[in-house]
């Protein structure tokens, strides 16, 4: 395999590793740093694909990823948790070894699901499609096994990272206009999340999601 192919595989695997590591993290600061690292790995992956296939617009895409996911959003999240004064460990709904076991099950499922599609793909990055789907599912698992709001949001954002990798691996990225739109959506979404945290904090004095489970058929 040529070197660029190996680098692409390595970057995709690192992305999956980071998604996995996020499942085991209890501390909020490490979660945000892991998210920033994931963005950096994603940008590196896009840049290598751009270099090896000569698709110019992927360089722009990588730059956008760095600006947004490595710099802007972690900064916003750090400032958020500073102002919200969140320091304590975040307990999970089910214990960590069980979460990891579930995660491995999801990885196997995703790899199986992606196999027929990646065989159809004509890109050099097609083997990363399974990894991308696995990252999406792992982030989704993190989203539903967390009790506090901020780890849920980070899970949500890292799901988008996985989808971005899927786009890069299956089709060398989406057309530029769509990518810009998606980036805009993600940025606005983060802002709205931030607004939300303050509103929730004001009303409940806590960001524990269990407070947000009172609506039922009364």
């Amino acid at each position: 395999m040529p070197v660029t192919q190996q680098l692409i595989n390595l970057c995709a695997s690192l992305l999956l590793l980071i998604a996995f590591a996020m499942l085991t993290q209890r501390r909020l600061l490490s979660l945000i740093n892991l998210f920033a690292m994931q963005g950096a790995v994603l940008a590196a992956n896009t840049a290598v694909v751009a270099f090896s296939t000569g698709q110019e617009h992927l360089y722009w895409s990588a730059g956008l990823t760095i600006a947004l996911k490595v710099i802007a959003m972690p900064l916003i999240l750090h400032r958020l948790i500073d102002r919200l004064e969140l320091r304590t460990d975040q307990e999970t709904l089910i214990n960590i070894p069980s979460t990891l076991l579930l995660g491995i099950g999801l990885v196997v499922f995703a790899f199986n699901l992606a196999l027929p599609i990646s065989q159809l793909a004509g890109t050099i990055t097609r083997s990363s499609l399974g990894i991308a789907m696995a990252s999406v599912l792992l982030s989704f698992l993190m989203l539903i096994t967390r009790r506090k709001a901020v780890p849920q949001v980070i899970g949500f954002l890292s799901m988008e990272n996985g989808l971005f990798l899927a786009a890069t691996s299956a089709t060398y990225g989406m057309p530029m206009v769509v990518e810009l739109g998606i980036a805009l959506d993600v940025l606005v979404g983060t802002f709205i999340f931030g607004i939300f945290f303050f509103q929730i904090r004001e009303t409940f004095d806590s960001l524990d999601i269990h407070h947000l489970e009172k609506l039922k058929e009364r």
Binding site: L17, F20, L100, G103, V107, F111
Partner: protein
């Protein structure tokens, strides 16, 4: 000299070299820790001095100590010496290498641990049983992880014989295997757990309630303790050699090449010292985990190893 005699001589020399080197490796790790903690440290040769002191003392045994208690240290040392001779640290292709299966290796290490745990429970003290229980908990989680870690290189090279794995990995053209990278991380975590290093166990603690490994050997003294300490140092060296053989195998002499042996030995010593320093850095940066977080740590190692295998399957096809 016939090739068989030559190879046997080579194997014996290798094993003796490893046995003699082991306390130095342990001393190096402790010295690095001391330097990182801004202390002067006891010197590189301290473990040798400890061993000499212990061999000169008479062992004190409890009334109820059985034959098992007296023989266990030697059995443990024997198992680990055998493990040391199996692992291809300087050269592959020794006479014992057809028996050098990675799964058998795990079994050997398990045998050593079982005897130590039995001996700890033999005298019936509270700390002994506590240490044995905790050690078995760690082992129960670490052994599957170790096996999984071995599977990825075995899949890549198509065999579970250690010599074959090293040959194929060392001689193949350089390629980044993400699966191997993940397996290496998992192996590092298992190494720390099995050798009673921070973050699982503090080797220099004197608080009995926090001990895992030390609690098992509280009752030993004199030459028995010396043998156990030597076996402990040798176990650390063996683990480091396994890691080197699987993940950084370049420099290991292929079978039968006598002339390259001195160079291979030097390279091995260099890698061992680098590995020891890395362990010291990791120990200094981490804090000891609470005992019931240890399953999480080892669970992560196990699943990382499984992930390594899965990734290898996905990317290799």
């Amino acid at each position: 000299m016939s090739p068989l005699l030559q190879d046997s001589l080579q194997q014996a020399l290798e094993t003796v070299f490893m046995i003699l080197l082991a306390p130095l490796v342990l001393g190096w790790v402790n010295q690095c820790r001391a330097w990182l903690q801004n202390r002067r440290g006891p010197g590189l040769l301290q473990p040798y001095r400890v061993l000499r002191k212990l061999f000169n003392k008479e062992p004190v045994l409890a009334h109820r100590a059985s034959l098992l208690f007296r023989r266990a240290p030697y059995i443990q040392l024997g198992c680990i010496v055998l493990a040391a001779s199996i692992v291809p640290s300087i050269a592959t292709g020794a006479p014992l290498s057809p028996a050098a299966d990675v799964i058998a290796l795990v079994g050997l290490l398990a045998l050593a641990r079982v005897f130590l745990a039995l001996a700890a429970m033999d005298v019936g003290t509270a700390f002994g049983s506590m240490g044995a229980r905790r050690e078995m908990l760690i082992a129960g989680l670490a052994e599957p992880a170790l096996l999984m870690v071995f599977f990825t290189p075995a899949l890549i090279s198509g065999s579970t014989a250690f010599g074959v794995i090293v040959d194929r990995l060392a001689l193949a053209e350089f390629q980044i295997y993400p699966g191997l990278a993940f397996a290496a991380v998992a192996f590092l975590m298992v190494l720390l757990a099995e050798n009673a290093r921070i973050p699982i166990d503090n080797p220099s603690t004197h608080l009995e309630l926090t001990m895992i490994h030390e609690a098992m050997i509280l009752e030993y003294s004199g030459r028995h303790l010396a043998v156990i300490e030597w076996a402990h140092a040798l176990k650390l060296t063996v683990y480091l050699c396994i890691g080197i053989a699987l993940f950084v195998p370049w420099g290991i002499a292929p079978a039968g090449h006598w002339s390259v042996m001195p160079l291979a030995t030097l390279i091995l010593v260099g890698k061992l010292f680098a590995g020891g320093a890395a362990i010291a850095v990791l120990e200094t940066l981490s804090a000891k985990l609470r005992i019931f977080r240890a399953p999480e740590f080892l669970g992560t190692a196990f699943l990382l190893a499984v992930l390594a295998m899965l990734i290898h399957f996905l990317l290799g096809t």
